[in-house]
Symmetry: C2
């Protein structure tokens, strides 16, 4: 299979700003071009926009604003994993020979229509993602005898890590007590257990092997890709204590990259809600079912940023279409030893886990330097 890599990236702070989606998109693309002055915009073959925003024709609009006249231009949407879907699509355009250089830009406003799962009328008014997350939390706690206090550590750890990320929505740190005392939203989840919708943008540029060698001094390669959709409605999930689509996606990605999960030195995990982090660690194969919190506790005690170094969705905020790209940027920075105070030791192999709607679909990427 063709060798395809990451040439550069740009990212903006995640905020609650009320800006037009077109401006938000442009912000991180401008940042990317500022960071990578060797890239000639005339060489960009495709511009893919990742968003849940309802505006149309955003790729040609971004292209025009950024001074690009691409061959391929369109938007991609799949709720919360739109970003990694766009990266995989970019990969396929390059691997197919239709493109050599692809810009992927994700952006969202704080009031994204993707924040409500509007289609599932069987759930009546319970359309906010917090309702599937509550079901997950209840099931996971019951099955593995885990308490709310234990799960609260995910938020404590990720906020601590987000403090070292200048682009994170939150720069506050919290104690277990703070999480437990934060507003109770459902029987099983409190405010600080949740990632928050926000305004943000992230851009990445992928290239063929030749382009990567020409334009990057510190290349990072996409060596594994796995994706799986099991259903759309979470009530079709076979388990509420594990993530079937994540298991399958991870298996495919590791097989493609010829790696084992033990080889992964740093990972971005889709912690939309606190319970998602231990569940995902288990479904990815880092540890046996029911023991995800053991990893999180150990890492927190030793101040090791291996899991969600940028602060996760809980610490960074979750601008849906930008999240998967921001996760990929973090792993790229880690593999380039360019993550400042968030840097993980010996980061050679990184993994990204990005999912939608109660893990009914998942993407897993493996990156290597």
């Amino acid at each position: 299979m063709a060798k395809i890599g990451i040439i550069g990236y740009g990212i903006t702070p995640f905020t609650k700003d009320d800006k037009k989606i077109e401006s938000i998109l442009l912000d991180s693309a401008k940042e990317l071009f500022k960071n990578n002055q060797k890239i000639n915009r005339d060489d960009i073959d495709a511009v893919l926009v990742s968003t849940n925003n309802n505006s149309k024709y955003l790729s040609p609009i971004l292209s025009e604003m950024a001074g690009i006249q691409p061959k391929i231009a369109h938007s991609i949407e799949n709720l919360c994993n739109s970003g990694t879907n766009s990266i995989v699509s970019a990969y396929s355009y390059i691997a197919s020979g239709l493109a050599d250089l692809v810009l992927v830009t994700g952006a969202e406003r704080y009031d994204s229509p993707g924040s409500v799962l509007d289609w599932d009328n069987s759930r009546g008014e319970y359309k906010h993602p917090i309702f599937w997350a509550s079901l997950f939390a209840k099931s996971y706690k019951r099955e593995f005898n885990i308490s709310d206090e234990q799960l609260a550590l995910v938020s404590v750890k990720n906020h601590k890590q987000a403090k070292e990320n200048p682009n994170a929505l939150s720069n506050k740190t919290y104690t277990i007590e703070d999480v437990m005392n934060s507003k109770k939203i459902t029987e099983d989840l409190r405010l600080l257990d949740c990632s928050r919708s926000c305004t943000g943008s992230s851009s990445i540029i992928l290239g063929s092997e030749e382009k990567v060698k020409e334009l990057s001094e510190n290349p990072v390669w996409i060596t594994g890709i796995g994706q799986k959709t099991t259903s759309a409605g979470f009530t079709k999930n076979t388990s509420f204590s594990s993530m079937e689509s994540t298991k399958q996606a991870c298996e495919t990605a590791l097989k493609m990259s010829k790696k084992n999960i033990e080889n992964v030195n740093v990972a971005e995990i889709h912690d939309a809600f606190s319970v998602c982090e231990p569940m995902a660690l288990e479904s990815l194969g880092f540890i046996n079912e029911g023991h995800g919190m053991d990893i999180i506790k150990e890492l927190h005690l030793t101040n090791n940023f291996k899991i969600n170094p940028r602060g996760g969705l809980i610490g960074c905020g979750h601008p849906l279409g930008a999240t998967g790209i921001a996760q990929t940027i973090e792993i790229t920075q880690q593999l380039q030893s360019n993550a400042n105070k968030r840097q993980v030791d010996d980061a050679n192999v990184g993994l990204i886990h990005n999912m939608s709607a109660a893990a009914t679909s998942s993407t897993v990427l493996v990156l290597e330097k």
Copy 2:
């Protein structure tokens, strides 16, 4: 480059029905599976949804309804050429090795939000596509000394051809006088010069060479792909009498397929408005600038369905996300000698032209049997 082909298709009548987008999507997918019983849904690696509808997560929803658990699942939007963008994306997933079998389903409701070009505030209230089309018509008529009566023939011809298409929105035929007497909407365009928004769905399934040989007795191959975006706002167009993005996309597609425009036996042209058909014929290289109507006149007189055999957008209606896929289905049927009364003689090489927003972006595909 890998050999990738069309294994099967399904299409629904284009109507003014008020149905949910999920049901509309499913309609043509069901049709596809009914027509192609050898396809095992477990073998489908990707489900791509082409639409301008604001609903989210439509690919997993369609997948669940259709009994598919794909690896890759997302929506694609680029206004009126969302359909061919989705087909090219499917092609790239297969050519890259990430997929062997890809379902592409396009659907739209009659009240699609893609029917209004909402982003271009510089145009004040003039946001309906008819305003760029009027500019095109005025410029084209002036530059090449063409009259409204002459352009009206496009609608006459395409409605005549649509009468032989059981899925077309319109089954009426019209005279030049009928077109001229239809409601004048702008100084330069009448009601019958326009394609109409409608409800419709079309599905196509693409496969690797191996899958095509296994599953199709009458394969059609995608041998040429060309795409170009010049801008988003039509006021950036260098000409209002020709289509620059179409020229470049066609050149790329013909080069890839090692064909000349003279080799094309049958073509689907994006006649969103009557003036688009002669302009596109010229920009595609079928004839010199200013002479597109000569072809249309000749074909109409000889009752030759070579251009827009299914009746074009004007005769069929224009369900945005479904159009490019419906065009591709028509060319597939033509190359399979399966187009009934619409059949063109010696159809060996077919071309599809699908564009968005005043031809600021275009896709051209070449298909061969």
